[in-house]
Amino acid sequence: MHKYILHRLLLLIPVILGVTFIVYSIMYLTPGDPAQIILGESAPPEKVEQLREEMGLNDPFIVQYFRFIKNGLKGDFGRSYSTRRPVFEEIFARFPATLKLTIAGVLVAIIIGIPVGIISATKQYSLFDNVSMVGALLGVSMPNFWFGLMLVLVFSVTLKWLPSGGDNGLSSLVLPAITLGTSAAALITRMTRSSMLEVIRQDYIRTARAKGVLEKKVINKHALKNALIPIITVVGLQFGYLLGGAVLTETVFSWPGVGRLLVDAIRQKDTPMVLASVVFVSVTFSFVNLMVDILYAYVDPRIKSQYK
């Protein structure tokens, strides 16, 4: 098992290097001279040139990239063009809020998605199944930022039950978490249903029934444990999408997370901030996937025994 985890951790290194390379390349191609942006439009050309030299902007691309990696390993991702503070500090200050929102969103998705999917599968073509499948389709079809605004319209503006924005305690988390989690809930519902339907048809489920296992146990023990294997992957992937999707949700609810930091940075052409935010979220995503893979091995004995 340790061997497996180590193996996966090592695989993470090229992925992270690759991600930084891609994102750095994209940012490098961004038109506009960072030195000019920092100094403002009216700055004299020789001053701009001096700053370019200081920032190493005249070096070849590959030199700049490796400098970025070298500094990045020391936790130095440069300074924000707009606030002049270290980028890493700002992201780190904002990250807990994003993580809180994303975890809440994933929880909403799991709490709704898995039970509804199971019931739908065991009662295929029933009213419950039809209603929840239409609901799930609506869920994946809604732009989540719009759904968030509609929730604000109903629960904040009209009913005045819940705050419409900010991060002040549990009540302010409810609407953003639902907004963020709905599409994932819909996806997990569909996935759970189809995975369960697939498993229920398997021969070993018939074996369990032939043994006289209680129907409830057939579903919750024999079928679910097998059906969960693909669902875990989906949940892990959704966690990543939600980290990305948080950008929109945070904008809707003025949530003080990395997503809003990113959007503001883009507006201000704050390249180091954009770069670092995207890299930071992607690396988090990769770690989540790693954890999912490890969890996977715990659930599926066939994978575990490969690494014994």
């Binding site: 992270i16 389709l137 732009p143 719009w146 605004l149 503006v157 189809s194 929109l248 959007v263 954009v274």
Partner: protein
């Protein structure tokens, strides 16, 4: 010889008519197709329904933020423009973005996937590991990064959304190429000296079509959603052009007084996505009946 050729053609045609027959039996897919047809027709004939410059773009502050009425079915926006007219013209933008960006993904992803699957080995490894790296970046963030680098415009938006979903097409195409690469009819084609390109174009591409069509249909939906999202945070099409996500964002400030400005563009997005999802699910079942429960 002639009859053999004819029967082969018939067989091909009957294969697709069989798919169509199965699709027709799927009520949801037909509902989706109908909605989609209506939206496409509205988009095509948008100029006959409402003049672009006079109704869609021109501001009319006297009539701003009016609720739905006989004159303005879905009300007016913060500049007094008719929301229904803007939605119809906005459908043009959304359909265009959806189709072109998926086209970009299919072409790039298809080429990369075919090469990886067909040649295998080192090339396969390089391509697919690169795709894995792209997949490690949440696609909306990748799109954000690309648009912010290229600058917000319709074309850049399509490129960004297109590129960000290249890996999933590359994977699908590679998987189907792998599944048929070693089959006997490919061996036979090789044996009679067909070139690699010919084999890929004549034998392999047609066999990867089914999963690509399904993924493409669902992909158009995803592209429309991404575009709306990017526009919502100000990375999309510049105003005053009518784009659903941007319209929705514009209404946000007036949520308290004029709910319709935000509500209807969102409903429009939801309707088209729902229709595409219905159709995509139906296509998947029709193209591969074995998958259906």
């Amino acid at each position: 010889m002639a009859t053999a050729k004819k029967s082969k053609k018939n067989k091909k045609r009957s294969q697709w008519s069989e798919v169509w027959r199965r699709l027709k039996k799927n009520k949801m897919a037909m509902v989706g197709l109908t909605i989609l047809t209506i939206i496409v027709l509205l988009a095509v004939f948008a100029d006959f329904i409402a003049d672009y410059d006079e109704v869609v773009i021109k501001q009319n502050l006297k009539e701003r933020l009016q609720g739905p009425s006989a004159k303005h079915w879905l009300g007016t926006d913060e500049f007094g423009r008719d929301i229904f007219a803007r939605l119809i013209h906005g459908a043009r933008v959304s359909l265009k973005v959806g189709i072109i960006s998926v086209g970009i993904s299919i072409i790039i992803g298809g080429i990369l996937g075919s090469i990886a699957g067909y040649y295998g080995g080192l090339i396969d490894n390089i391509i697919m590991r690169t795709m894995d790296i792209f997949l490690a970046i949440p696609s909306i963030l990748l799109a954000i990064a690309i648009v912010s680098a290229l600058g917000p415009s319709l074309m850049n938006l399509m490129i960004a959304v297109g590129i960000s979903s290249v890996p999933s097409y590359a994977r699908i195409v590679r998987a189907s190429v792998l599944s048929i690469r070693d089959q006997e009819f490919i061996e036979a084609a090789k044996a009679i000296g067909a070139s690699d390109l010919r084999i890929v174009l004549k034998h392999i591409i047609p066999n990867t079509l089914a999963p690509v069509i399904v993924q493409g249909t669902l992909g158009v939906a995803g592209a429309i959603l991404s575009t709306a999202g990017l526009s919502f945070i100000g990375l999309g099409i510049r105003p005053p052009a009518p784009e659903w996500g941007a319209m929705l964002a514009g209404g946000r400030a007036y949520l308290r007084y004029a709910w319709h400005v935000t509500t209807f563009p969102g409903l429009a997005i939801m309707t088209i996505i729902l229709a595409l999802n219905f159709l995509g699910d139906g296509l998947r079942d029709a193209l591969d009946p074995r998958l259906k429960q």
